[in-house]
Every structure is written in structure tokens, then in C-alpha cells.
Amino acid sequence: MADRYAGLVSGFDDLYRENILDHYKNPRNHGRIEPAGASAEGMNPLCGDEVTITVAFDEDGETIGDVRFEGRGCAISQASTSMLTELVKGRRAAEVLAFDKDELLDEVGIPLTPVRLKCAILGLHTLKVALGRATGAETDADEDIDVR
């Protein structure tokens, strides 16, 4: 087991890469859209990470014209949510609902232990719930994340 971890996180450069620090310190699409076409607040009660995501649809009622987030929490949760907003803007809701978390994790680009994984997908899970509500689609529950 030791080996796996030895390679997994080998230093600051790996875990807190420039682009994560950049997204954490300069979040993209920060803020709140009011009134929103879709919205949800997600929270990981174990560590207190929080994000609120709001979405405005284009005229077709499907395409994400704008998406904004606010939140507080660890660098991973906030940076990954910031990255997420860039990834999904302009996509259709149905597409984002089928979005594979690995696509986001690739973007985050660092190896994550299970505890930190929850931080990294907080934004994605919250967004999916928001879109699911707005479009009536089902979304999988994540046992560790509370969404209102």
C-alpha cells in the first residue's frame, strides 16, 4: 500500500498546482444569477465545504448560457467548482447531467484520495442536482453531500 501513496502525492507541486491555486485565488464565474433558471446549494457536512450554483439558460431553455458560483471551503472544492463553470458553459443541460466526473477530475489534474475526492466533486454534484430539478431529470444521490 505504501507504494501507491508514495507515487500519489509527492509534493506541493503536485497537489497544489499553479492552476488550482489560480482558480482558488481568482475564481472564474463567481457570483450569483438572479433570477436563476436553475440553482442549488451543496454542502459537505463533514468538512463544511459549501457552494451555491446558479444557472441561466439560453432561449432554447436547455443550453447553459451563464453559470455562477459562490462558496467557501477548501482549495480543491472551490477551484474545482470554478473549473467546472468554465467546462459547462454553453453545453446543454442533458449533456451536463450525463457529465462523467472523470472529465472534471482530469481538468483538476491531480491525484486525489477518497476524502479529497468529495471536495473535488462537490460543485459538480450540486450543479447536477440544480439541473435535474429544473429539467425534471433524476440525479444520483451522493451519500456524503447534502444539497438544498
Partner: protein, 414 residues
Amino acid sequence: MAVTAKPTLDADKLRADFPIFDQSFHGKPLAFLDSAASSQKPRQMLEAMTRFYETSYANVHRGVYQLAERATEALEAAREKSCRLINAPEAREVIFTRNATESLNLVAYAWGLTNLGPGDVVLVTELEHHSNFVPWQYIAGRTGASFRMLPLDAGGELRLDELEAVVGRGTAKVVATNLVSNSLGTVNDVARLAAWAHERGAIMVCDAAQAVPHKRVDVLALGCDFLAFSGHKLCGPSGIGVLWGRAELLEAMEPFLLGGHMIKKVRLEETTWGDLPHKFEAGTAPMAEAVGLGAAIDYLGEIGFEAIEQHEHELVEYALGRFSELPSVTLYGPPADRRAGIVSFNVDGVHPHDVAQILDLEGVAIRAGHHCCQPLMTKLGVAATNRASFYLYTVPEEIDRLVEGVRKAKKLLG
């Protein structure tokens, strides 16, 4: 030695894995014929636990640092192994407890306190171990439910034909039985009992403490709703037990032990429970014990449960045959083809304590007592029996020594 069928495992070779056999007792090698009480431990299992403590130990879950991640992984890997062992659908349905007894209490308290009431019937069997008898008796008493017992026939098998009569006009809510009796070795038809229970709207609770170590057990094939077993009887460490339950039942249930790790949010006004399996795992988990259990499952899996069952079957046939040479011995329980590797007996005029003690002087360890089955002893009309029980490391020579010792006891005291 008179066994001719070819064993599908090499018990003589496997014995080398068990350090306990390195010693002698009263100058004689140890014939450990009390595996139904608890099994001996292979080196591989002990080493897995020590290695865990030496390289990967920390409190599991929610730790951000590497050691805690490693420990969490090790615990969850053991859960996966336990899940596959009994062919459970999902690992989150597998709950670690301290022993099979606690697993059964968990169901009795958490399900029973909320779902039982006057007019309801809790049905156990005359063959039950106290651990699947007393919790139900107690919770039935607390809730006003009626507590009843399915009787045995003269051969030590369940009177399934009495089911309707015993429940009568009550509402059957719980049927609780073991899969293999620890006293008689009887293998019970749990699938049939489960079908009957479900027809009546009852849940079926299966005590598999004596089954999981010795044969392939499949919760789906049994059709039960809950199944309990202990680590220490299957080459694993003391201090860990397993409860499997169907997710929808576990999710609908109240929790049992409360405290750290089983909650989502705690407020003065209200607390919300965590998800499965954490909802039922309060406090620090038996982490090293889970690792040991996982290693034991691997160990047994490599030998193969079919081989283990076959080996024990041959031993029990052999033992029943050898005992039939002794007219002073009364044997209890069904014929070899319907029993596991357990032989209960009495010797005319010699108290079981004396039999066990004389055997001990010969280096043969058996149990003498009520085996936590007083209702069964009452039925048999005895205070105690001798019980010899076998496992993968048992060899026919040990049964020869057992029979020889019984002869001596009879000669000396009978």
C-alpha cells in the same frame, strides 16, 4: 486410520500454518477439537494484522493524511471481502460489529424495538444458540410481542410441519434460526423458512456463525433478510463480527449504537444519521480486526469452501462410524449427510466434565457443557453434552485419539 476417501485438502500440510500446533500438551501433540467454539489462527492472518499496525495504522475515515487513508482503504477492503464471501449485493449492507451476538442484538433492538408489539409473534427454534434466542426473548418482552419456539424432532431436526401451529393466530413478524446448529451440527433449511416467513410478512434472521466458516453461504440463495457471523470462528481475530442486512431494511431502521462516525449532523434539537454502513458503526471501528478478518477470508478462499466442507464431512462420517463402535456412547443429532463437522455425545455414567478432562490429559481438547443451548439440553433431557468439532486442520488421527480417550474415560469412571 481408516478413512479411504481422498480429502480435497491436505490438512496435514495446512496445520503447518497454525502456530498453536507447535506446542505439546502433557507431552502430546494438540488435538484441537473445539473449533465450533473458536478456531485457531493461521500465521498469514496474524501477520496481516501486525503489518497493518506496523505500517498503516491510524483512525479511519475523514483523516486527510496518508496513514488514515491507508487504514480506511484496509477497512473497506475487508468489507468488500466480507460482502463477496456471502454473495451480498452491496458492501454497504455489511456492518462490522464485535461478534455475531452483537450482530443479532443489533437487529433485535434496532428493528424489534420499533416494529414489534402485542399480537406479534417472534419465532425462534429449540435449536438456537442463546445469542439468537435471548435477544428476541428480551425485546419481545419489552414490546409485548409473543415469543415462541419451533420444536425439534427426535433426530434433532426442525419440525417445519409445526410452523403454522406454533404461530397460530398471531402475526408472525420475525423468524430467527441458525443455518448450522453449534450443538448438533444440524443443517437447517433456511431457504424454506425464509420463504415461509416472507409469505407471512415476517423477516427472516439467519445466525450463520457455524455456517460461514465451513461452507459456501449465499444470502441471496438463502433468501434471508439478515445474516450474522463472527470473525473468530473462521480463522480471524476475536473482536469482530459481521451483520449483513438488506439495504432497504437497514435504511428504514432506527440506528442502534450511537456516537462518533454514525451521524450526519448533530444538533441539540435533532441528529440525522449517516448513510449505510456508517449509520450502524458507532465509534472507532475494529480496524485491525477487519484486516485480520479479510486475511482469513483470503486464506479460506484459497483453500476453497467446497474442499473445507467436504473435508469436514469426511471427518464427521468417520467420527460417527468410530463412535458407533462404543456401545456406551449416545450420539445426538442427524446423520452425517445432513450435518456439519460437529459431534455431540454422552458417555454412559461419565459426566461430560470428566470426559473432557480426561481427554485434555491426552492432549485432546473438546468442549463439555450446554454449548449456550439450554433449551436444546432441556429437550434432550441432559444438563450437558460432550462436543467435538472439526475444521480444516483436523486430521482423522485426532478422531482416533478422541475415541481412545473416551474409552479410557469409560473404563476409569463409567
